[in-house]
């Protein structure tokens, strides 16, 4: 029996064939890009997404004598009942607040000052960036042992003494320990932020400053009305990154103070480390990690929404 092909069906076939040809041509053209993409996606999947999912799953499990069992919310109950849980959050928030005060404002101020220099800018950039190149542990120990020694031998205490001011115990006493860690952290990390601010500042057209000067604006007014609005995107991005990074502070506490004195520098990540590697309780450490993840996630969403609303206004 002869098969009759209607003109409509033939057109559809041709259209399908053309579409397939287009797809194959496209795929052939992009094969290289897809090849690279597969590698990256696999890396992300294996080293970022898989561990995250695994962490969430294991936070509901319990390992006992080689056997893993479902534990419900037991790990979450254990971590929230830990006497250090709330103290760790308080300490973390204290560090974040202080680090924002110093670590956010200071690099911006330094960048503005360096930007004002016509000469020696490159040298100043290197000088400011030098501490970032030091291995973190070496930088922290250097600061702790030579600058902030609680005895009168410490450099900062000698400076205080020279200025007829009372010496500080720095990291050696609970009230001053966290501010000391903030100073160490700001010193060792601000170089990167300064360079980013400098790049943003150098992208501001000079005419804006000239116009402001003609309008009679002084230095502070020029910063407030020209520099800040022009660098707003960078400022808000770094603010968010800084909050996320400071909430995860660990190295300074681990290396400089061991969580002390009087647990004043036990942070959330330090507590998670203790659970995983000192108390041999990975599952509870993972529960704390998930709580941290949720807190930072909620913060990031709120921040992005507020930022969007601010831009729309």
């Amino acid at each position: 029996m002869a098969v009759v092909i209607s003109p409509g069906r033939a057109e559809t076939r041709i259209a399908v064939r053309r579409a397939r040809g287009r797809f194959l041509r496209e795929a052939r053209r992009n094969a290289q890009a897809h090849g690279f993409l597969i590698g990256s996606v696999l890396c992300f999947a294996l080293f970022t997404w898989y561990p995250m999912i695994r962490e969430i799953v294991e936070s509901f499990q319990r390992l006992h004598y080689g056997r893993t069992t479902f534990a419900g919310l037991r790990n979450y109950r254990q971590i929230t009942a830990d006497p250090f849980f709330w103290q760790a959050w308080r300490n973390t928030l204290q560090f974040t607040g202080l680090a924002l005060l110093f670590g956010f404002a200071l690099p911006f101020a330094v960048a503005v000052v360096i930007n004002e220099f016509r000469h020696a800018q490159a040298y100043l950039r290197v000088l400011v960036y030098l501490p970032v190149m030091l291995p973190p542990v070496a930088g922290i120990l250097l600061f702790r042992n030579y600058f902030m020694d609680p005895t009168n031998a410490g450099l900062l205490n000698q400076l205080l003494h020279a200025a007829h001011l009372p010496a500080s115990q720095w990291w050696g006493a609970a009230p001053s320990a966290m501010p000391s860690l903030v100073i160490i952290s700001t010193w060792s990390n601000m170089g990167g932020a300064v360079l980013i601010y400098l790049a943003a500042l150098q992208g501001i057209p000079g005419e804006l400053y000239e116009a402001a000067e003609i309008d009679g604006a002084g230095l502070l007014k020029r910063i407030w009305h020209v520099t800040v609005p022009q660098t707003r995107t960078i400022l808000s991005l770094l603010l968010m990154l800084q909050i996320v990074a400071t909430m995860q502070m660990f190295t300074e506490s681990f290396v400089a103070t061991g969580g002390g004195p009087e647990s004043s520098t036990v942070t959330v990540v330090y507590l998670a480390y203790n659970y995983a590697f000192q108390f041999s309780n990975f599952n509870t450490a993972e529960a704390l990690g998930v709580i941290m993840f949720i807190v930072l996630g909620v913060f990031s969403v709120l921040y992005v929404r507020l930022e969007r609303r601010g831009n729309e206004a």
Binding site: G66, T151, P261, E262, F277
Partner: protein, 481 residues
């Protein structure tokens, strides 16, 4: 499509595949290296057949920064090879035998060597990992002759629930490490270290009075080491950290107050303790080695660390008993380390691991106990080629047993290169060791860090309040286990 374009595409795909396979390789957990190439053997309680072909891996071998100990280890491997020509021991060198974080990650990834090192206090996490073999069927006086002569406390640490899981390498009880030179400079008798806490405080004050940044005594207060030393010190005044079953805190009492008051007085009244807190285990040693600290509570191997790794002079150091209230302490914390054998090992690998551990760590006159050879291989004191011989450790053997006598005879014959007379106060006043808290020891230490750091950094520290607060936190932790 041009040939160049084709080549680029192939390279891209190869690259992606390499990344994917590389990642897969990284993410897979490695088993133990090696494996029997012949029969796997059986758990028949007999020693390893000298004709069996077996390969095992073991960690805690000396690293290249300890050339003296490395030479000793290599010499032992060569001698062992003569006895078991078909056994290959692949050592995994480590500068520090256990880093707690890496160790926990290793258990989590099941990447242990065929026989793997651990501290006594790791038993819970090792058994929890399910990776330790029950070696009860393999160990007997025929395969490990020293097993019956071990100290009862050591036997307790290598067993659990009536099963044998490990073989020991080292056991110690804590004592008082002191700088004899500083004692002399302060007008104290270096042969008579303080044996009571009151004497220790008085001596510490005299040493601190030397000035120049010298401190009489230092103690830990962070990184869980403060609570660990609090445990040592409360045992020394007749108290305990927890009830014997480990379910309740037992330190909020006169003994606990005494420990903290003593430290508070040394820091704020008599000046025996300086202003710089010691917050990590390793932080205590540089000031000790550089002669800035007079005394610290520690195990005998602190002296070998000071001499082997930090270049201190052996003659400078003395070792006294743990101080108590009216004389040497009635008890002090003990500790040590051991080797587990991996559960996935074949019977012959287990036998080979036991044979090697027995040879290297548990036989007087051989391996770590081959004192005469160790002295011969040792470099000069103060260099990393130095092998300390004559320190009162590893202390594995019960007194008056055949092993203890053989060990003492080997040491006597070897002409120790450490000043054995400096350790006489410790050896003549043996203090019985007690184990660490059986449940949540590190969590208890973390809580007590608080009290330790408070009395040494806060002049207004309220000791009863600190202990009450610590007690409720520890009980809360123990109730949640």
């Amino acid at each position: 499509m041009s040939a160049r374009h084709k080549r680029k595409k192939v390279a891209a795909l190869a690259c992606a595949a390499a990344v994917a396979f590389g990642a897969g390789a990284c993410s897979s957990s490695g088993g133990g290296s090696g494996g029997g190439t012949g029969a796997d053997g059986v758990a028949d309680g007999k020693p390893l057949d000298p004709n069996a072909t077996v390969t095992i891996s073991i960690d805690c071998a000396p690293a290249s920064d300890q050339p003296g100990l490395q030479a000793q280890y290599n010499d032992d491997l060569a001698t062992f090879k003569v006895k078991y020509p078909h056994v290959t021991v692949n050592p995994l060198p480590k500068t520090k035998c256990e880093d707690p974080a890496t160790f926990t990650a290793m258990l989590k990834g099941h990447t242990e060597t065929n026989a793997f090192y651990a501290y006594f206090t790791d038993q819970n996490q090792v058994l929890n990992s399910g990776d330790a073999a029950d070696i009860s069927a393999y160990v007997n006086p025929q395969t490990v002759p020293g097993i019956k002569d071990l100290l009862p406390t050591v036997t307790k640490e290598i067993s659990n629930g009536g099963k044998l899981y490990a073989l020991p390498r080292l056991y110690y009880t804590t004592g008082l490490i002191y700088n004899r030179d500083l004692f002399k400079r302060a007008g104290l008798d270096p042969d008579k270290p303080p044996t009571t806490w009151a004497d220790l405080a008085a001596d510490a004050a005299k040493i601190s009075a030397l000035g120049g940044g010298i401190t009489g005594y230092e103690d830990y207060s962070g990184g869980n080491t403060g609570g660990w030393h609090f445990g040592d010190e409360i045992d020394s005044v007749g108290g305990a950290l927890t009830t014997p079953d480990g379910t309740k805190a037992a330190f909020n009492n006169a003994q606990g107050r005494q420990v903290l008051q003593n430290l508070y007085d040394m820091r704020w009244r008599t000046g025996g303790i300086g202003a710089t807190p010691v917050t990590q285990w390793a932080d205590a040693f540089p000031p000790l080695a550089s002669g800035k600290v007079g005394m610290i509570i520690g195990a005998p191997d602190v002296i070998s660390h000071l001499t082997n790794s930090l270049g201190a002079t052996p003659q400078q150091w003395g070792l006294g008993p743990m101080p108590g209230l009216s004389g040497p302490a009635p008890a002090t914390q003990d500790g040590g380390d051991l080797f587990y054998v991996k559960k996935s090992d074949t019977p012959n690998q287990i036998k080979a691991a036991i044979a090697w551990i027995n040879y290297e760590y548990m036989t007087p006159g051989q391996g770590q106990f081959n004192y005469a050879r160790n002295v011969g291989l040792s470099g000069d004191p103060g260099t990393n080629k130095f092998i300390a011989v004559g320190l009162p450790e590893p202390q594995l053997w019960a007194p008056n047993t055949a092993m203890a006598q053989a060990d003492a005879a080997a040491l006597k014959a070897a002409n120790a290169n450490m000043p054995v007379a400096n350790y006489a106060p410790y050896l003549e006043n043996p203090v019985p060791g007690v184990g660490e808290p059986p449940i949540a020891a590190q969590q208890i230490y973390a809580v007590l860090d608080n009290a330790m750091s408070a009395v040494m950094t806060n002049k207004n520290a309220n000791i009863p309040q600190l202990l009450g607060d610590a007690e409720s936190k520890v009980n809360q932790i123990l109730a949640n286990q």
